[in-house]
């Protein structure tokens, strides 16, 4: 086992300075990113003021935590066993490095290591974690689906076992009319930072289903930034299930840059203990007749904290835009917290946009109905929590992937022990009474 290291912004920059001459890709891009990161630091990581985009999430814990890599060349079979079984191509990254020996990649696959291009959607100048990724990225998946092709399901898997920090750089490119479903899985052991940046280009009439399953180690930091561009009549259908990690954030920047483009940014977060999970998104409607849909469900137990920041921007010419966002939270404990900040910024005059948030405890009438049928109180509470999530999972329409998500929730549930959760729920009730 290697010695633990604490990496504040200065630590990351020192690491970059030391590795700079070894890194591939355009050094001017990396240098510019380093310069941006030098200015921004880790949001909240110093006493400097936090930008608005990081209002509810401070990365100070990363700077203060000793990230500890485990022994090198560890046996990854235990983690591999947790990769959802599916008869589909598989792309595995271990500690941020592509592992051909563990993979069965689809046609059109390459890696960042072979083609170190940073893409044109990511904004290292604006987004600190993207700057950090751009400084230090060494590998990642590159997947291009040819026009009109249907690539089926591809599993994109990150296993963290030995590294303190992972900065994979992924690019998905769907040419016009192409179809692809990506099951994007993050799992790991240890105390580490997983900082993936993903670019998805969805061509005209193309259809990308992107299901993210975040089930990192309980001590991990997971800070994913995703940049999506959807051309005319294309669809990006995203769903994120957040289960693991100590402090996590999924940050989406989605541009609907063609007419009648569609984006779904749904998700569910199950948090307990002191977990913190942030779901942040910006959807920009640039052209008319676009549709965006977003419902994020939070189940918050213990002293966990959920964050939802959703912003819909409608440009002047984007008439007939249909935008919707909703954040729903079920608080199972008096100490759990949800921060919700939905925003609309509309410059067109003929649009339909709405947003909302609900925060609540379990419904007393539903609970009584179940108990009146003989279902004991704790079992009834657990059933209602599962039902709340089930509705969210129903946004995942592929039956096989839906089953995988259900199994993941079941696994989480088994690990947490429903008992502990419902006991906290009872504590809530006592306070409310």
């Amino acid at each position: 086992m290697n010695a633990p290291v604490s990496l504040g912004a200065a630590g990351f920059l020192a690491r970059y300075d030391a590795a700079r001459h070894l890194l591939s890709g355009d050094p001017s891009v990396r240098d510019a990113a380093a310069e941006a990161f030098r200015r921004s630091g880790l949001p909240g990581g110093t006493s400097a003021r936090r930008p608005e985009a990081w209002k509810y999430t401070s990365l100070r814990p990363i700077a203060e935590t000793a990230l500890q890599s485990l022994a090198d060349d560890r046996d990854v079979s235990a983690l591999l066993a947790r990769v959802p079984a599916l008869d589909s191509p598989l792309v595995v990254f271990v500690d941020g490095r592509f592992r051909a020996d563990l993979s069965n990649p689809p046609a059109g696959f390459s890696t960042f290591a072979k083609q170190p291009e940073f893409g044109d959607l990511a904004r290292p100048d604006r987004d600190p974690m993207t700057a950090l990724n751009t400084m230090l990225a060494e590998d990642g998946a590159r997947l291009r689906i040819a026009a009109g092709g249907d690539a089926g399901v591809v599993r994109l898997v990150s296993l963290a076992t030995g590294a303190e920090t992972l900065h994979p750089r992924h690019v998905l490119h769907l040419e016009p009319g192409a179809r692809l479903t990506v099951l994007d899985v993050s799992i790991g052991d240890g105390t580490y930072l997983h900082n993936p940046v993903t670019e998805a280009h969805v061509g005209a009439d193309a259809h990308l289903i992107h299901v993210r399953l975040q089930d990192e180690s309980a001590d991990a930091f997971h800070l994913a930034t995703l940049y999506v561009d959807v051309a005319a009549a294309g669809t990006y259908d995203g769903f994120t299930l957040n289960l693991g990690g100590r402090l996590t954030r999924a940050e989406f920047h989605v541009g609907l840059t063609g007419a009648a483009a569609v984006a779904h940014l749904n998700g569910a977060q199950l948090l307990t203990g002191t977990q913190h999970a942030d779901f942040t998104s910006v959807v920009r409607h640039a052209e008319p007749h676009g549709t965006s849909r977003q419902t994020v469900r939070n189940v918050l137990a213990g002293r966990s904290r959920g964050v939802f920041q959703g912003r819909i921007e409608v440009a002047r010419g984007a008439q007939k835009t249909d935008g919707y966002q909703m954040n729903q939270a079920l608080l199972l404990s008096p100490d759990a917290e949800i921060d919700s900040k939905p925003e609309l910024e509309i410059f067109a005059d003929d649009v339909k946009c709405s947003h909302g948030a609900t925060v609540g405890e379990l419904d007393a009438e539903q609970l009584f109905y179940l108990r009146s049928r003989g279902i004991p109180d704790q079992e009834a509470r657990a059933l209602l929590v599962r039902a709340f999530l089930q509705e969210g999972l129903d946004d995942v329409t592929d039956a096989r992937i839906h089953a995988i998500m259900e199994a993941s929730v079941q696994g989480w549930w088994d690990r947490q022990s429903a008992q502990a959760i419902t006991e906290r729920a009872n504590a809530t009730k006592a306070v409310g009474a």
């Binding site: 009584f368 049928r373 003989g374 209602l384 599962r386 039902a387």
Partner: protein, 249 residues
């Protein structure tokens, strides 16, 4: 089977039941009629243990045990079943899973083995068929998107599967057409026997033509003001509650 003595209950400190005395012997079906707001539904809720109703006086014994000291799930395990007037929707809860969870919870409390999914579905499909319910009602989420009549039939399906000793039917007939009404009545009649009793809350004689009660009670302003045989329901259908209901103060 059921003995209610001097039962008074309130919600939000507002008295609703003001001293109910009622005995339902084993094997009998009793009808409860009365004007709106007389406390009929409250009686059903209090008997099944809804926590926002506070019992302020009286006793209820069910097969010799104190019912009021039991939790809702314990009452269900003991054999009390309330068919809700407005059945609750449970989005995200599959009807078959809900019914199996309930049945197995009750079986567990009796020390009986649980039914697996296959055994349960066989039972549930047979009961659903007897109630002329489409199979897909078992697959759908509990009461979500059900018509009013489907919700009521789903209550009767639950009753048929859980096989209670005391069924309280709270206006299960309202909103049903005549065919559905007969199906519901047949569902209850099928359970009738020496170990089964029912309290049937209704506004209409219609149901009682198919589900003939042993006794009829009129509830008004939180008290039973009149009891009689099945003829009482027919008389009420003609004359209404006038003369039975004390003038409002």
């Amino acid at each position: 089977m059921l003995q209610i003595r001097g039962l008074a209950a309130s919600i939000n400190e507002k008295p609703i039941l003001r001293g109910i005395d009622l005995t339902v012997p084993a094997g009998e079906v009793h009808a409860i009629m009365g004007p709106n707001g007389s406390g009929k539904s409250t009686l059903g809720y209090v008997l099944s243990g809804r926590e926002d109703y506070v019992v302020t006086a009286g006793t209820v014994t069910f097969n010799g045990v104190d019912l009021l000291g039991m939790k809702p799930e314990e009452r269900a395990a003991a054999g009390v079943f309330l068919a809700f007037q407005a059945p609750i929707e449970l989005p995200g809860v599959n009807n078959a899973n809900f019914l199996r969870t309930a049945l197995n919870a009750i079986r567990r409390s009796h020390g009986e083995s649980e039914l697996d999914a296959v055994q349960f579905l066989k039972l549930a499909r047979a009961e659903a068929k007897r109630l002329a319910m489409p199979d897909d009602m078992l697959r759908r989420n509990v009461n979500v998107g059900f018509s009013g009549g489907e919700k009521k039939r789903n209550e009767v399906l639950q009753m048929a599967i859980l096989r209670p000793k005391l069924a309280i039917l709270d206006e299960t007939d309202s909103g049903l057409d005549i065919d559905a009404l007969k199906i519901v009545a047949d569902g209850v009649n099928a359970l009738r026997g020496p170990d089964f009793s029912a309290l049937v809350i209704t506004h209409h004689q219609r149901l009682l033509d198919h589900l003939v009660p042993n006794r009829v009670h009129v509830l008004a302003q939180g008290r039973i003001v009149r009891s009689g045989g099945p003829d009482l329901a027919r008389d009420l259908e003609k004359s209404g509650y006038a003369g039975l209901v004390p003038e409002a103060a």
